[in-house]
Symmetry: C2
Subunit: 327 residues, 2 copies
Amino acid sequence: MKLATYKDGSRDGQLVVVSRDLSTAHYATGIAGKLQQVLDDWNFMAPQLQDLYDTLNNGKARQAFPFEPSRCMAPLPRAYQWADGSAYLNHVELVRKARHAEVPDTFYGDPLMYQGGSDDFIGPCDDVVVPSEAFGIDFEAELAVITGDVAMGATPAQALEGIRLLMLVNDVSLRHLIPGELDKGFGFFQSKPATAFSPVAVTLDEVGDAWDQGRLHLTLQSTWNGRKVGMCEAGPEMTFHFGQLIAHICKTRNARAGSIVGSGTVSNKDWSHGYSCIAEKRAIETIENGKPKTNFMKFGDTIRIEVKGGDGQSVFGAIDQKVVEAA
Amino acid sequence: MKLATYKDGSRDGQLVVVSRDLSTAHYATGIAGKLQQVLDDWNFMAPQLQDLYDTLNNGKARQAFPFEPSRCMAPLPRAYQWADGSAYLNHVELVRKARHAEVPDTFYGDPLMYQGGSDDFIGPCDDVVVPSEAFGIDFEAELAVITGDVAMGATPAQALEGIRLLMLVNDVSLRHLIPGELDKGFGFFQSKPATAFSPVAVTLDEVGDAWDQGRLHLTLQSTWNGRKVGMCEAGPEMTFHFGQLIAHICKTRNARAGSIVGSGTVSNKDWSHGYSCIAEKRAIETIENGKPKTNFMKFGDTIRIEVKGGDGQSVFGAIDQKVVEAA
């Protein structure tokens, strides 16, 4: 099934069930008002939502209405955890190669992951609000899962069983703030402003065979200012699958229901696939020509991130945002 | 007023109002079931809770019951943000001096802060569950505030206005996992297991003049295995006050209601005050004798963290925990 959260002026919005083709939606009122409630009590509520979803897909839902992504908040407008991995090692290799640094061997056995802010997510069509272009505004097109409860010590296989929903992410990054923050040693903070998510989050059955043991074998499309810059294959080059990423969290603690776990920038060794973040394009330019040529985003720039299924239809709806200056 | 969250088998527990002397409590049912609801709608709900608090303190609340800290969850059992600063630069100076490293000048103008996991906090008397003693188990006694909404770009003075509640923290740290994580550059993750908070969170009026422009001028007591090891003054040596810490978050994003912001380990230049984490004691030993003598915590160890007011009474109740091995 496909779930979204409609803006209604409240902090958590209103849960809606969205038809498979993303044409219609129906409020989940009577089952659950908020997605977090569903995640807190998945086994009880998910079957009820599935029934409504089936009815909606059959055109039998009597109070269905046209689905409008622009009315969406993030599926979880705020979350208790947002842990973002960097699971495509090619991305790390490129960025490091551009600055003549090696990738430590340990990076191939132990995922990179940072804890992100999760109190103020933005919707798929909300503006990306940044105080200054000088911060080096970049998009990062990623996949993410939302988990149920996964206990401390869970294996990657056990962690896979805890995945409830799948969605897209624009992990907006402020590149020029990153070096200073990493030098301080405490990780990203100001360099990661509010994160955006796709209009809908979907259960794994929605992608069929494209989901294979923690990896999504579909193409992630990134379109910057109307120009398609990335057609990256998300499956084969994901060094750590989502079960491994979740198990990384669970080495020393529990991951509780509603935890969002990101893949990091999707990246392919074959540069002809393009890029899922500008930093990677700049790294390639630096490797080829000694310096970057492509600039980061300007106010007014747009970014669209989407995945199409085997049938050519949009799976999650599109993240489609404009960058604007903070008031 | 003083607020706590009682365990009731649910994820968010039941909000209770606690008397000033911590002797009695009363369910806030009828006003709000959960603390996050209050933070989401503070101006409407706080006065109602204050009325109940006054009635309780006057001995007129008809369904009051004895307050038991052991029945408490963290005041916010899960939160949308846990951002922990390192605002006592003396702590940073000591740890760096022990390894012959300088403190960069920028550290005195720009706070250190990491994003912590906030999906699975533990209560004040809950066990600290760790998979292995070899991880280097340490406590960190800190203060924290819970905020309302604070907008992107807020000044430190504006951010101070957003503070709703004050509490104590045990920011459990796994010291031997930290160097490897910091080397990776993405900050703390596995080295920060579930965090514990004091039985009650209090409004600023509860500490009177001890609260002065973002700093709490009281003594933070840490008692390890029954031995008082820290009597640290929390006020004068806090390099960055809470308004500055919150403003640090807000440079590039909003901080939304229910954000928890920590002070980092409370630390004094005068070593006779003792220590609020074992790492600092070991740093002092290393500076004095070339190597640390004090070991980190073992399974079965206890840690008690408390602050007493000008009247000698416990302000927040005590964090009082035992370290145990993960099953």
